[in-house]
């Protein structure tokens, strides 16, 4: 046997291994065992005078069809099909997986501690505005909460993606800048620009974390799409953790009140803030650890809710036209329509993220197009109603922010509608739509930064 032949066998065995590994019911250790079998069989067939490639083919055939084999294993280990959803996945190298879990845990604890560090300087979670310190405390945490948590998430990705020092500086820059901006701008305590900055800062910083997630290659569209996928899954994990945390807190209060102790202060000052901070990192780690194991949930929810929301918007439009009712414009309407657009953009984004862009247009794509067009119509009606009366309101920071967001989302949806229509008509590839969405991501970051940095000056810190 020449050297080249042996290498070919190794390649084929590696290929075969990767095929077998994809079966949930078969463990890595089982694959090792089967590989040993395969090699013994090949060796014995070669001894009998067969050529290496023939020996390999026969040996693989004797092991049996992969489907049947995997079924046999599944019957023996039916729990394995479930277990993968519960425990940390058995990484090929479990040392790597354990190290990652430890790093994530350490960072989660660090984030939880960071949330409480201001307490050392007298800034506690006591936000009771009845006494003097309360309002200042509240103001500090409103401005800095995301700054105390998200750097640890960025750190997690810097570590995980082995970011080069240069990349680390770039990753750290937005956080340093944000810390300076949030604490040097003389916001009016409890003012509009302050709470607007507090709402928009996490959006900007979340996209900054994406720089770490993409290992610095933020201009790469595939990595951006992966970050979108990550964000959706993270959100779902976070909601689940929050649900569990709520139950935990409920029982904490219940059990201690049974022995006559009031622990609400402990819950509000420690468990809640530390939990909120730590769960950000833990959620991210779970998504990272399980991305190849569990079907992504965000696209599943999208599939479920796209038809329902399309129906809702259609029904709304029809009712509005039929009854001739105008949209009653009050303070909350604009924000409500902003949220509607966010939701529709989300539905499109996650439908795109899960779609194989080589497949032909399907019914679901038409449905998405209808959804987008309905959302555009509904929003156009709302915008028109608001524009007609904007002079009455004057330009308050909240209204300008909400209007700006509305326009940004409207442009996104209009672009999506055009590209969707072209795709459904068979005149453009699906990738064009995907690219439009990923190319649009920095717009959100830029607008969020504008609201954080420029608005306070424009509106005199009110």
């Amino acid at each position: 046997m020449t050297h080249g032949d042996g290498q070919m066998l190794e390649e084929r065995i590696a290929e075969w291994r990767s095929y077998v590994r994809r079966r949930e019911a078969i463990d890595p250790a089982d694959v090792d065992e089967l590989e040993d079998h395969l090699r013994s069989q090949v060796a014995s067939l070669e001894e009998a005078g067969l050529a290496e490639d023939e020996a390999f083919l026969i040996a693989v055939k004797r092991i049996g069809a992969l489907d049947t084999l995997s079924d046999e294993f599944a019957r023996e280990y039916s729990e394995r099909l479930w277990k993968r959803l519960v425990v940390a996945p058995a990484a090929e190298d479990s040392g790597e997986g354990r190290r990652e879990a430890l790093v994530a845990l350490a960072l989660a604890v660090a984030a939880a501690v960071a949330i409480k560090i201001p307490a050392l300087f007298g800034v506690t979670f006591d936000t009771n505005t009845a006494h003097a310190g309360g309002a200042a405390n509240e103001s500090f945490y409103i401005r800095n909460f995301s700054l105390l948590v998200l750097p640890f998430l960025a750190g997690f990705f810097a570590w995980k993606r082995k970011l080069a020092p240069r990349g680390r500086y770039w990753l750290a820059a937005p956080f340093v800048a944000a810390a300076l901006v949030m604490n040097l701008i003389p916001f009016t305590m409890g003012g509009y620009t302050e709470s607007l900055a507090a709402i928009h800062l996490p959006i900007a910083l979340w996209l900054a974390v994406g720089f770490g997630y993409a290992a610095g290659a933020w201009h790469d569209h595939d990595r951006r799409m992966n970050y979108v996928r990550f964000s959706g899954e993270w959100f779902i994990y976070y909601a689940l953790i929050a649900l569990g945390g709520g139950v935990l807190i409920g029982f904490t209060v219940l059990l201690f009140s049974a022995i006559g102790l009031k622990v609400e202060l402990l819950v509000n000052n420690w468990i809640l803030p530390c939990g909120i901070a730590g769960a950000v990192i833990i959620g991210a780690w779970l998504v990272e650890a399980k991305q190849s194991v569990i079907e992504n949930m965000a696209p599943v929810l999208t599939m479920l809710f796209t038809p329902l929301f399309t129906l809702l918007l259609l029904a709304f439009l029809v009712t509005m036209v039929a009854t001739g009712s105008a949209i009653a414009v009050d303070r909350k309407v604009l924000i409500g329509f902003d949220l509607l657009l966010v939701l529709v953009v989300g539905l499109i984004l996650y439908a795109i993220s899960a779609r194989d862009d080589r497949t032909e247009p399907r019914f679901f794509d038409t449905l998405q197009l209808i959804l987008v067009v309905c959302a555009l119509l509904v929003d156009a009606v709302a915008l028109w109603a608001i524009a007609a009366r904007i002079s009455e309101f004057g330009f308050s920071p909240n209204k300008v922010a909400a209007l700006g967001e509305n326009i940004i989302l409207l442009v996104n949806l209009a672009g999506s509608a055009v590209l969707y229509a072209r795709f459904v008509a068979g005149r453009a590839p699906f990738a064009a739509l995907e690219r439009w969405q990923t190319a649009y991501l920095p717009v959100y970051a830029v607008w969020a930064s504008v609201v954080v940095v420029i608005f306070p000056f424009v509106f005199r810190f009110q």
Binding site: E33, D36, H37, I63
Partner: protein
């Protein structure tokens, strides 16, 4: 002669236990041994053996350890336990009953007698 799927499945446990009662062994060698003993009549799909071995391990009839093959590769060896030996005795008795019953029926005189069994 082609032995049916159900019979192959039913005989797998006692056969594996019997082979392991001769001494510690591993998957490929067990299949080789079955092949030798049956004169090539009993054909297993190789991969099927492993779920069977793992079930025996879970039931405590065999004990598995990771060792090294002669070429230094990782290999899983199986050894029969006391419980496994008891199970083998029990299953042997059951097969004897089946066998004896079959011998007493016309099946035997028609099919096996001409072959001199």
């Amino acid at each position: 002669m082609n032995i049916g799927k159900d019979l192959v499945a039913a005989s797998a446990t006692p056969l594996v236990l019997a082979i392991l009662s001769e001494g510690e062994s591993y998957g490929y060698a067990i299949i080789k041994r079955v092949d030798d003993l049956s004169g090539g009549e009993l054909k297993w799909t190789d991969g099927m053996l492993y779920p069977v071995l793992h079930r025996l391990e879970r039931n405590g009839y065999v004990k598995a350890t990771w060792g090294k093959s002669e070429t230094g590769r990782r290999r899983k060896y199986y050894r029969i336990t006391d419980r496994g030996s008891e199970e083998l005795t029990r299953q042997r008795r059951q097969w004897q009953v089946v066998d004896a019953t079959l011998r007493g029926t016309p099946f035997h005189s028609f099919m096996m007698a001409p072959l001199g069994v």
